[in-house]
Symmetry: C3
Subunit: 136 residues, 3 copies
């Protein structure tokens, strides 16, 4: 039950928001947990997670554009010389590396407009997302 599951994600853009709702709902169903907590965790340092509007894709586009404006790819970064992805790391800290979703009646509890997004800030890449579901 408390076992960690891994999702593999293939991003296709440098900055991309990928909805995980369906995969997470499946993992919750498979776990058999009726009341509990679902932890979603990104083991990367240039990607994050966020929960925001999933119905209108312009919302996540605006979030990506604002992050790019506040944290442009080119900057006076020290990390720039090596990998040129300092902006990706900074964005990862601003969004965060995990989200918590509550489980009720065997389903993740999301608000009407909410979706759970993997935030790719340095794609395209193959990525992992860790998911742990606990009962109680």
């Amino acid at each position: 039950m408390g076992q960690i599951r891994e999702l593999t994600i293939q991003s296709h853009e440098r900055c991309e928001f990928i909805k995980l709702d369906r995969e997470l709902a499946s993992l919750v169903t498979e776990s058999g947990v009726e009341e509990g907590v679902c932890y979603v965790y990104v083991p990367h340092t240039s990607a994050g997670l966020t929960i925001n509007e999933g119905a209108d894709p312009t919302v996540m586009q605006d979030i990506g554009a604002k992050l790019a404006e506040l944290v442009p790819r080119e900057g006076p970064y020290r990390h720039a010389d090596s990998e040129r992805n300092a902006d990706s790391h900074i964005k990862a800290t601003l969004t965060g590396s995990s989200v918590v979703v509550l489980i009720r009646n065997g389903e993740p509890v999301l608000g009407t407009w909410q979706s759970i997004f993997f935030c790719e800030f340095d794609g395209p890449r193959r990525r992992q997302v860790l998911v742990k579901i606990t009962d109680g």
Copy 2:
């Protein structure tokens, strides 16, 4: 015990920070949990949660002002045409949709100056906050 409780919140401003300390402490007491974890979750996409200083109200005013400066209401947003609240969604991602508070001796463990704030970014509205308390 692990049952999800719902708080209803009425905001009165477009951007407003509403202290939840008292309500959360009551829910922890009612739960009877002595040692555990309290998950606070906002099922909205234009509101968030944060833990910051509750003693001096100018701190949250400064946070609101800085967020408004970094993410102004008017901008070249794509989501603007429909609801004109793109800024609210962006601020929700910057603050986050949940906070976790530890429980010790039947009480939420908060630092001396800490309060838990519901962050309204698109009020005034009637909002929900979900609270789950687990033992262990």
Copy 3:
């Protein structure tokens, strides 16, 4: 097991990122928990926590520099008169007051490049970090 442990941290700079990996791994080992969750919580309002790259120190330097650029120490802050640390509080909200780390086979699960950082935004100071480890 679910008991809250406290780490004491002495920061030496006003803005400083202090790696907690070793201390947290020790606490997980001591707890004897094989599969579970580790909650790390900062009971302060001018400090935060983040998970980001620990191998190349320029990454955290860039994060600190970008936060200082977005939220300069001097600003038209209301909280400025009293303590002159409004920026510290704002940065604390942008990073967040807690992180969650999953535990597998008796160890915190971190990605290859990930470290857990205490984010000092108003040092130098003596600080506390609360750690709770749950089984399941």
